[in-house]
């Protein structure tokens, strides 16, 4: 981890306003923001570690816990909501004993909620690993997830 961190820091001056891009870079390199990495960023920027954690906890895109190998995001926009996104979410939650924001114990995937993908014509919509799937149902989504490796 030390090498990756040093590589990230070498691209920056050590100014406090560089915190967010540094955290993004660390997450790109390591998949999430381990405590050790946030501490290192705090030392590099001469900030309290609690302040670094505060920023990391503010943004949904930054993760302070390891993420699954895959990501599953259920759209909860108005259109998807009307077309049954709540049932989809409940089906996933029940099958994997998981809440949005959490990761399965085997790190297979992380479940997220999203407000709107802008693909309302195909609602309800689910995104898996950056790819959108329209006209979903609970059964279809569970089948998609079962195919993940």
């Amino acid at each position: 981890m030390q090498n990756e961190l040093q590589k990230v820091f070498s691209r920056y001056q050590g100014r406090r306003d560089e915190l967010i891009p540094i955290l993004q870079d660390i997450q790109d390199a390591l998949g999430y923001l381990p405590a050790e990495a946030m501490n290192a960023a705090a030392d590099f920027l001469k900030l309290p570690a609690s302040a670094v954690f505060g920023v990391a906890s503010f943004y949904d895109q930054l993760h302070t816990a390891p993420q699954g190998r895959h990501s599953v995001s259920v759209c909860e926009g108005t259109s998807c909501h009307i077309r049954g996104s709540a049932q989809i979410l409940r089906a996933i939650e029940k099958k994997f004993a998981l809440k949005p924001g959490q990761t399965t114990p085997d790190h297979m995937f992380t479940l997220e909620r999203v407000a709107c993908f802008g693909l309302c014509a195909m609602s309800p919509v689910v995104m898996v690993d950056g790819r959108l799937y329209g006209n979903m149902s609970p059964a279809k989504v569970l089948k998609l997830i079962e195919k993940l490796e």
Binding site: M38, D43, K46, P48, F58
Partner: protein, 895 residues
């Protein structure tokens, strides 16, 4: 700064240009509600309760964030503003539990106060239920986030004032909350338990665990721990201290304290206090009356004196006792016993400072004051772990760096907390300070950065100094010290380049066989760059004990009478002989380590020890123990049956700082009053009274009704205290020199001329420490302090919470050395030197320099001073507590 006038609710208010509307109002006594504002923190604008209307501005403005402008017309207590405030307050109340009656902050809650001001009488908005997240992990305080209103005062105090940053804001929107790093319980974070956040909390979200009953009265006094001299307010109820808070207006601590001062006073009411005199009968210490005990002491001291001469008696005075008591103790030893064999623990901490700075400048004390640190352009901290040993002074250093952009040079083998803030951290090998300082001075000379006018006009002996300095060079200094040459050069340029540069040092400089040379070198550095005799500069030794400065000032030293008047100076001696009515000894007496040697050899037969614990504080404890056991008679006067008192023939119970009147002198020469808050336990008496009682029995009457009379006697004989009397010590004391009753005291020394006339350069060629690592003992052992304990732990180890945070008997080792020795965190290891062996638990940390083992000396379970080297500095007779050679043997895996 010019004065401007604004109008608030029709009232004319004068204020300084640049202040906010809110500050102007509060200064003038006009109430504007606010929850997030604190005068000593940056304005924050979070709570929106201080909104006001300003003529000519459209929207309501937060008074804390809006600068007052001359002629401004402000409306605060008007219906349309109060309507808005009321809604804001109602929203806060909806999110706040209704547990006021059982809340620790009931009736001191600022949310209650504002709700009352706004006339809120019912809960209009439906209550949100927040999950109560209690964090009770800290032994001293509780965090109840359900009562938090997110004003940010705790977060800002922790970050801005303390520069710790244990807490911050996490989450977003409604989930926003005050959080530690990774939501850990507070005891697992960098929190230093200073309690600043508790004082700041406007509600009951942060509260002290022990404060069940509010005090019925308060007593202002001074903290009994380190030399910072912080103002404390003791809350008393039914004869017990039930609350401790910092004195907000005190010029030094300004409302801040450290964990020891705030939470470490449990010792006062400890069950272990000595409450009756004890006399050894059939080998055991058994209770006795005062008459029996004092008669026995008088008889034995008299016997030693008549059989073997006065110099067969020796006394240790106490840096924990008051000025008056130290004065009486040395008066007793000199006038009643007739010996100059009186010393105290200053010998072990700053003897080299007193010797070195007195020779170079003419005075051994801090040249400047604590608050001046904030004005320095460059601060050079060498051999002082300020954050842990002098926490409030560390705050000033951090403020200088973070708020005023001062540069900070830290020279310390360990990666101490201050290194986080340093521009350059020089990690010299222990015992090579002279080489490091010489190299810095060589750079300054070679690069023409010296202050030639200052050297020419204010100093002497420069040529001789220069000749020796020319022999040193940067490259070999880098080799000797292990510090990269480039870092030495940078540090030299930083120090010499600053308009005002201040040196701060402590025992990392003094506790060496080269201690005096180290101090000379620092004095040289300051004179070379013209940094003495002006504000915010100077050479500043931080004194470790609450009253070690006073104990030195009042003559608890073998070579000087009160006010550093030499015992071998007939004129000075004559003055005291006349005042005290007896002839006085004219030969300097024995120092601490010499006393122990003399006891060993049978030259000293009897000792009187007041409030000291040499059985843990002195080097080579095995030798000390043998010496004390070899005495014919040992009397120890203490508040506890310390490791030393356990060896006594007579133990006398003394009153502690909270049980008597008197004065302490802090490290910045500030003489301050301590005041009796509670009665001593059982038959315990103030030390000054015990000395008087004993003196009378030995045929010399000392009659004082109150310590103020002792102070008057002292002042008449001690020129630097000449103008000091109790009525002049209100409210916040006086800084000596204060020669007469009109003198306002002295903030910094040597202005315009040194106390000795010209400042004197002393050449300091580099010498190695007395004992260096070798094949048999391959590591360097260095000793020091932790934040959570004090000295030999007699006081702090009686506070359970401090024990919990900082458990006994650790030593620190660098990961590389741990790996090579097969040692892992928590392993029990035997550390041994040529003098003895102790067992301690390994803490594997990069704080330690590779090759160097660090050990605190607080713990009787692993007394570091069994290991340390009693080799002495030739001038100051201070032992080399900071360097010796040690070997390690792993005994047990972590269990």
């Amino acid at each position: 700064m010019s004065e401007i006038t604004i109008t608030i609710d029709g009232r004319q208010v004068e204020t300084a240009e640049g202040s906010s509307i809110l500050q102007a109002a509060l200064d003038a006594g006009v109430y504007i509600p606010s929850l997030c504002y604190q005068p000593d923190l940056e304005p924050y604008g979070a709570c929106r309760l201080c909104l006001v209307l300003v003529d000519g501005m459209n929207a309501m403005q937060p008074a804390c964030m809006t600068k007052a402008v001359d002629g401004m017309v402000v409306h605060s207590d008007v219906p349309e503003v109060n309507d808005v405030r009321r809604t804001i307050c109602e929203l806060l109340i909806a999110d706040h539990p209704e547990s006021c009656l059982t809340c620790s902050s009931n009736q001191r809650c600022e949310l209650q106060e504002i709700a009352a001001y706004l006339g809120i009488s019912q809960q209009r908005l439906p209550a949100f239920e927040r999950e109560s997240i209690l964090d009770e992990s800290n032994p001293f305080f509780v965090r109840d986030l359900s009562k938090c209103i997110l004003c940010g005062r705790c977060v800002r105090a922790c970050q801005e004032l303390r520069a710790v940053g244990a807490i911050g804001f996490a989450g977003r929107g409604y989930d926003t909350h005050v959080s530690t790093f990774m939501e850990e319980p507070i005891n697992l974070t960098v929190c230093e338990s200073c309690g600043e956040c508790i004082d700041r909390c406007p509600t009951g979200a942060l509260s002290v665990k022990s404060e069940a009953l509010p005090p019925s009265r308060e007593v202002r006094t001074i903290c009994p721990y380190c030399g910072c001299g912080c103002g404390l307010v003791l809350g008393v109820r039914s004869g017990r201290i039930v609350q401790v808070r910092p004195e907000t207006e005190h010029p030094v601590n300004r409302g801040s304290l450290c964990v020891k001062g705030r939470f470490g006073l449990d010792f006062v009411h400890s069950e272990d206090r000595l409450t009756t005199p004890l006399v050894r009968r059939d080998g055991r210490l058994t209770p006795a009356t005062w008459d029996e005990a004092l008669d026995l002491v008088a008889e034995n001291l008299n016997r030693a004196k008549s059989q073997y001469g006065p110099d067969s008696v020796a006394g240790l005075s106490s840096a924990k006792c008051t000025n008056e008591e130290n004065y009486l103790f040395q008066k007793f030893m000199r006038a009643v016993v007739g010996t100059n064999n009186v010393d105290h623990c200053a010998r072990l901490c700053h003897a080299s400072t007193v010797a070195g700075m007195a020779r170079a400048f003419g005075s051994g004390a801090m040249t400047n004051s604590i608050n001046e640190i904030e004005g320095a352009g460059c601060i050079f901290v060498i051999g002082s772990n300020t954050t842990e040993a002098h926490p409030i002074i560390a705050l000033k250093i951090k403020a200088a760096v973070l708020k005023r952009g001062a540069t900070l040079i830290v020279a310390d083998p360990r990666k101490i907390e201050l290194a986080r803030f340093a521009d350059v951290h020089l990690r010299q090998r222990s015992g090579t300070d002279v080489a490091l300082l010489n190299a810095m001075m060589k750079v300054i000379l070679d690069e023409g950065l010296a202050d030639e006018d200052f050297i020419e006009e204010r100093t002497e002996n420069f040529a001789e100094f220069r000749a020796i300095l020319e022999q040193s060079d940067l490259e070999s200094a880098a080799r000797i010290t292990g510090v990269p040459a480039e870092d030495i050069r940078r540090a030299a340029r930083m120090f010499a380049g600053a308009e005002r540069a201040s040196v701060i040092f402590a025992m990392g400089i003094t506790q060496h066989t080269t201690g005096s040379d180290n101090v000379f070198a620092l004095a040289n550095l300051a004179m070379l760059t013209g940094n003495v005799g002006k504000e915010s500069s100077g050479v500043n030794p931080l004194r470790g004990q609450n009253n070690v400065q006073g104990a030195c000032d009042l003559g608890a030293l073998p070579d000087v009478l009160p006010g550093y008047q030499k015992v071998d100076d007939p004129a000075a001696r004559g003055k005291f002989e006349e005042a005290w009515g007896v002839p006085l000894p004219d030969e300097p007496g024995l120092t601490v380590v010499e006393m122990m040697n003399a006891a060993h050899e049978g030259r000293v037969k009897a000792m009187y020890i007041m409030g000291e614990n040499p059985m843990l504080s002195d080097p080579d404890l095995t030798h000390v123990g043998e010496g004390l056991k070899n005495l014919d008679f040992l009397c120890v006067q203490d508040i506890f049956l310390s490791e030393t008192a356990q060896l006594a023939d007579v133990a006398l119970p003394a009153a502690c700082f909270a049980e008597k009147d008197g004065a302490f002198t802090s490290t910045e020469r500030r003489v301050q009053r301590i005041r009796k808050a509670v009665a001593p336990p059982g038959a315990a008496r103030p030390d000054w009274r015990i000395i008087c009682d004993l003196s009378g029995r030995m045929g010399y009457e000392m009659r004082y009704d109150h310590p103020s009379q002792i102070m008057d006697e002292m002042a008449a004989l001690t020129p630097i205290y000449g103008g000091i009397s109790y009525d002049r010590l209100e409210p916040y004391g006086l800084q000596w020199p204060c020669p007469d009753a009109e003198h306002p005291g002295t903030v910094f020394l040597h202005e315009g001329g040194f106390a000795r006339g010209l400042g004197k350069f002393h050449p300091t060629p580099f010498r190695e420490a007395a004992e260096l690592p070798d094949d048999e003992y391959p590591f360097i052992l260095t000793t020091g302090r932790f934040l959570y304990h004090f000295h030999t732990g007699t006081l702090t180890r009686r506070t359970e919470g401090l024990e919990e945070i900082s458990p006994p008997a650790p030593f620190e080792i660098h990961p590389r050395d741990a790996a090579s020795e097969g040692i892992r965190e928590g392993d029990v290891v035997e550390l041994s030197t040529r003098r003895g062996a102790v067992r301690a638990r390994a803490v594997v940390t990069e704080r330690s320099r590779p090759g160097t083992i660090f050990m605190p000396f607080h713990f009787r379970e692993a007394p570091a001073n069994v290991l340390t080297n009693p080799a002495l500095d030739p001038i100051a007779k201070i032992p080399e507590l900071k360097v010796c050679a040690v070997k390690l043997e792993k005994l047990r895996e972590m269990g």
